[in-house]
Subunit: 108 residues, 2 copies
Amino acid sequence: MLREPTFLILAAVTPRPLHGYGILRSVEDLSGGRVRLRAGTLYAALDRMVSEGWIVRDGDEVVDGRVRRNYRITIAGQEVLGREVEHLEANASVAKRQLARILDPGLA
Amino acid sequence: MLREPTFLILAAVTPRPLHGYGILRSVEDLSGGRVRLRAGTLYAALDRMVSEGWIVRDGDEVVDGRVRRNYRITIAGQEVLGREVEHLEANASVAKRQLARILDPGLA
DNA sequence: GGTCCATATACCGATGCTCGGTATATAGTG
DNA sequence: CACTATATACCGAGCATCGGTATATGGACC
């Protein structure tokens, strides 16, 4: 299973290409403020995901004198994210069933 | 966020106390065969979770000449697991929305 | 009778992701 | 002038997991 920062970074670049700092803010937003990435985590994860083929560099822009390196999700990346969503849902569902059994041990 | 082995171990001991090897099989079962814990992962995680107060030792049994050390989830452990389920569901939901936006960029 | 598998606990080194901090640079605000 | 937001990037430390190994008993198979 992916770690949470990796998962959220992948989700952040999913609808459209995004640059490092934009991903940082998007992850914070997507997680409801719960997850604040460190710069070190972000750029290391980005490099790793490029080498895995989950994302690709998608053109650099210059905005206000600063370079923006944009990243775009690949088809392979979308597949990884989709499978991961299934794992999360399956794990959540299983744990909920287990918790429900505490109150009602009769449940299958 | 918890790592998957830690999460599944906690879920495994949730409805009733269970011993190490029983947890190993339960985790494999709960994950649909996807997750097979290494013994090293299991016993290290068990020690960690005891020191965190998420589980407690709950009596040793002797079955067929072998000792079984049983572990039981605490109220604190149930709270950790419950919060974690919420995180998993939130993350899955967010990622699904992002994936849906690829096909229909008009979605909010 | 010997081999293999399931049960059962436990340790060890290596790997890898994340954390926390720091460095560098520009533009805008108080 | 200091601070914050934007923007990329590196570094050492921490720690959970992986993969392997050790030890021991009991049952099944041949």
